[in-house]
């Protein structure tokens, strides 16, 4: 029993606290867009919820709406400092010459490709044929056609989730921490963010850059951002898009 408690304690101490992680991958020839480029931000997919005591996320409509608004404003702000021409889609409708169905289809296609990127670049199922080749995924001809129809150079896809500990969950966190005193540390996650951004070059159809953000906290009351507030949303946009790194070949040439 003593041994078990000790292991739990040390593991707990290591895992305690929390973290903010981002990991980006890029096409080997990717250079961050600069100067006179045009970017279309696709309708961001946002969900904010409350983390129940049992660990399920209960979506909250009001928080989600607020966060979506904040993220859209933060994006516009962040992009206005980049020099490019940016258009943000809040709905699927409203682009001249492109119907909502085409937008929906591109979103679904990106969803499938994005899941594949997540699986093979982030979740450890590395493909032997794609080792050390940077990001090598494409949305194909459909994206190129979409680019021609919209006259845009890039499309940015965004997905963001955030969750907050409910009072029951927070109580559980306190008990889990209190247990450390008697040798039973059971750190409990109090929710956090998980988001990704994906940049598609509409001239080639390729996914040229991808970034994943994750934050998690096991200390009750401690958070690493809150996209329900304008500052938190700006922070998430900055973490996701702030420091776009060039692809490997481009960096090596520099």
């Amino acid at each position: 029993m003593k041994g078990r408690a000790l292991i739990l304690l040390s593991a707990g101490a290591l895992a305690l606290g929390g973290c903010v992680q981002t990991k980006q991958v890029a096409d080997v020839e990717f250079a961050p867009p600069q100067g006179d480029y045009s970017l279309l931000v696709m309708r961001p997919d946002v969900t904010v919820g409350s983390l129940t005591t049992g660990g399920m996320v209960e979506p909250r409509a009001d928080w989600t709406e607020k966060a979506r608004g904040n993220l859209l404003r933060a994006l516009a702000e962040q992009q206005s400092n980049q020099g490019g021409k940016t258009r943000i889609l809040e709905k699927r409708e409203g682009i001249n010459g492109v119907d909502a169905e085409t937008v929906a289809n591109l979103e679904r296609l990106h969803n499938a490709v994005g899941s594949s990127i997540a699986l093979h670049k982030y979740m450890g199922a590395t493909l032997p044929t794609k080792r050390r080749q940077g990001l090598d995924w494409t949305l194909g001809e459909d994206a190129v056609k979409f680019g021609r129809a919209t006259g845009m150079d890039y499309a940015l896809f965004l997905h963001a989730e955030d969750s907050f500990a409910s009072s029951g969950r927070a109580a559980l966190q306190v008990i889990g921490l209190a247990g450390c005193i008697i040798g039973f540390c059971a750190p409990v996650s109090g929710g956090g963010q998980s988001a990704y951004a994906s940049l598609v070059d509409l001239r080639t159809g390729e996914v040229v850059w991808f970034n994943v953000l994750q934050t998690n906290s096991q200390l009750p009351g401690v958070r690493f951002g809150d996209i329900r507030t304008p500052e938190g949303a700006a922070q998430m946009v900055e973490r996701l898009l702030g420091r776009m790194k060039a692809g490997r070949n481009v960096r090596e040439r520099q």
Binding site: T52, T53, G54, M56, E58, A61, A100, I175, F184
Partner: protein
């Protein structure tokens, strides 16, 4: 393991055993009781909108889901059929009549589901199996019943409550166990199992509610309520037929980890309940109207079904539909099932079906092609070529017309 455990092993086992029994008793208790249609009152008013935060969040999620489904390329795009289905939902939807939406997806499977926001998705495989509008109304009313009884939000709240209790129990067992030196991991694991079983049990209870609610609704609309247990009888017989042809034992499908009550239980309960709601006004079957509504699609759906490589189920399905009279279409697909199974003797059986199909008025052109090819194989070239000519005259623009024309030497 802990000291206490070694000293008093029996006490702990007795405790765990006792708790286990309590769990199981609770579960079978709720699963066995039939819910009477008379006890089922709708829990929503017309134009129901969510008031509570949790339900609002659920709705927002499902509004996105509906947006995706509405644009899905799996949907059967037939406005007349869609509004026909919507009409049945309206007729059986009670207070939610005007709040229900029905989407029809081309998926060859017996299934349908209801979203908390009031839209349901019905699979084409379900429509294929229905013999008349009364049977279909039972399924649609069952789904509407989930909405009328607010099942999704009740399920979510039940899950929230039970997982919270379990989580605190586990934490308490961990912290308390560490403080007193007792290892309570087994107890936690048992409680975990108890929670899972209890969640599934609640899900089955809600399904039984939806059955009773749906039955009440179709009887009120004037449909024959015995159509509802028939659907389950058909499903059971189909499952048995499928297993029999594969030479497998029929899995009765009941388990403590099932989300739905066993089909047999549902059939028995629905039969008893149907008696309670039958009146002189509940006689409508509307078979012709139903067949008319799906007429443009039955062939596609039969085609999807026979390609599932489940000859036992397909054969049962076709013959069950033929209880209302054989048609050329059903005979042709009966032949296709034998042909695709392709075991010894099946070719002759297929030939008989094709030959029977072409004697019926509504035989599809493909029946003439299949019949002709079979005759040629049997050495009756002259007749076979005539049948193929008939195919070409019925379907001159078929994708394989040129090839068939070549084979008849024309």
């Amino acid at each position: 393991m802990s000291v206490l455990d070694e000293q008093l092993p029996l006490t702990r086992r007795m405790l765990l055993g006792g708790l286990g029994c309590a769990c199981c008793a609770g579960i079978t208790g709720t699963a066995q009781a039939r819910i009477r249609p008379a006890d089922m009152k709708p829990l929503v008013a017309p134009g129901h909108r969510p008031d509570d935060k949790d339900e609002q969040g659920l709705w927002q999620q499902y509004e996105r889901v509906e947006e995706e489904i509405a644009g899905s390329n799996l949907l059967v795009k037939d406005p007349a059929l869609t509004s026909y289905l919507g009409g049945i939902a309206e007729r059986t939807g009670g207070p939610a009549a005007r709040d229900l939406r029905v989407y029809l997806a081309r998926i060859p499977e017996f299934n349908a589901f209801m979203a908390p926001t009031g839209f349901m998705v019905v699979f084409s495989g379900l429509l294929l199996r229905m013999r008349d509008e009364a049977q279909l109304s039972g399924v649609i009313a069952h789904e509407a019943g989930h909405f009328l009884r607010r099942h999704q939000i009740r399920m979510w709240r039940d899950m929230k409550r039970k997982t919270a209790a379990l989580t605190f129990l586990a934490m308490g067992a961990g912290v308390g166990g560490a403080a007193t030196g007792v290892y309570a991991g087994d107890l936690v694991r048992l409680a975990h199992l108890g929670t899972i079983l209890s969640l599934f049990s609640y899900s089955r209870e809600l399904e039984a509610e939806a059955d009773a609610m749906g039955l009440r609704q179709i009887a009120q609309a004037g449909y024959d309520p015995t159509a509802m247990p028939e659907t389950w009888q058909q499903l059971i017989e189909e499952t048995q037929a499928s297993a029999a042809m594969r030479k497998k034992r029929w899995k009765r499908g009941y388990s403590l980890l099932a989300t739905h009550p066993a089909p047999e239980q549902r059939m028995v309960d629905l039969r008893a309940s149907a008696k309670e709601v039958t009146t002189a006004r509940t006689a409508e079957r509307a078979r012709d109207r139903y067949l008319q509504a799906i007429s443009a699609h039955r062939k596609d759906w039969l085609d999807d079904q026979v390609k599932l490589n489940d000859p036992g189920a397909s054969l049962y399905l076709v013959r069950n539909l033929a209880r209302d009279g054989w048609s050329g279409l059903l005979r042709y697909y009966e032949g296709e099932i034998w042909r695709l199974r392709g075991q010894k003797g099946d070719s002759a059986l297929a030939g008989q079906s094709y030959a029977a199909a072409v004697t019926l008025a509504d035989a599809p052109p493909e029946a003439w092609r299949a019949h002709g090819q079979q005759l040629i194989r049997d050495g009756r070239g002259e007749e076979g070529r005539a049948a193929l000519q008939r195919y070409l005259s019925l379907a001159p623009n078929a994708p394989d017309a040129a090839m068939v024309r070549h084979s008849v030497g024309g």
